[in-house]
Symmetry: C3
């Protein structure tokens, strides 16, 4: 279930720990809760399970643990994909949010879609040099009250 | 309340049964539940009741029965409409989802907006020849576990 | 907490009363409830608290009082911002909805972002001359049953 530890964002001066969940997220909710509460994990990236069939349960699992939804992530991913795959982009229910001080991203399962999400959005937002702002620089403040 | 049976997607080799709900969706929630549980219905398309006035209750009715929301549908519809009607596009709360193995789409009530949603999105996604993927080919898998 | 009464939409023939909430929306939920139930207030515009840090609680407060969410507002704001700030736009959780017959808008805290939201969306939608439709002309119908 837990596939690999991804390399940190290429040019980040702060190493960003990213845990990648590959394949069908059968126990996505439980995983999210564990991962979101592990202080060693800054970012969870899940792949797969974002479609509309009966087995595509990742978005519901993610929503069940979100403290804050980042609606713009799925919007932007689908908008960027529209140029490539037209109306098929709406089949993707890619989603992101914050829980327990951890960023959670759910990407589609296809390697191409994952690459697009990384190259189009995450490579920038997980790079603490990106301007005007990025997700890395906000990590210390995710839990502030 | 139940207006008409729409023609199947033009070039689909599998006839897609589409039920169109016209006018004010006063009993939209009950309708959604009935339609979503009828195995003869593959797709429900409701028109009207997607605005912001007190009588516009279709989105709330749809959301109350969704097992899966297809957020990209409303996003893409509004984005396509932005070219035509500018910021007025945000008045549309068009929405889509899946319940009981049935696709549910809520379109605005104006004929022009319905035509735009059909021509811009549904004619493709309800055609099982559309690539890289379409909603028709996934119908047998909506209920899989 | 309550900053100022904004000028009505420039060319509106019906004065639109707009209450602007500036700064951190610590008591946003309570404020929303009060403002949404005050018949003298047509529109609430809150600024700040729409990011992803622990103190950014405005979207959750707004969602807790929405009777109807206007999903297209945040979508369009982020899409318009994408041209200016690239992927950083997804950090904005700008949101809008209707509660108690009042329009509620949550904008980011930066003056630039507020200006963009006003110039790009609100100046049109809070102007009852804007076509094909605008939020002002619908105000008498927000509470209809």
């Amino acid at each position: 279930m837990l596939g690999s530890i991804a390399a940190p964002a290429p040019s980040s001066t702060k190493p960003v720990r990213v845990l990648v969940i590959e394949g069908q997220a059968l126990f996505a909710k439980a995983l999210c809760q564990v991962l979101a509460s592990d202080p060693e994990i800054d970012v969870v990236i899940a792949t797969g399970g974002t479609g509309v069939t009966g087995r595509d349960v990742t978005p519901e699992a993610f929503h069940s643990v979100y403290e804050k939804e980042i609606a713009g992530f799925g919007e932007l991913f689908r908008w960027q994909s529209y140029e490539k795959i037209g109306t098929s982009t709406i089949q993707s229910r890619a989603t992101a949010g914050v829980a327990g001080g951890t960023y959670l991203f759910a990407l589609p399962g296809s390697p191409g879609a994952c690459r697009d999400a990384w190259d189009g959005i995450l490579i920038h937002q997980l790079d603490n040099r990106f301007r005007p702002c990025n997700f890395v620089e906000l990590m210390p403040r995710l839990r502030e009250r």
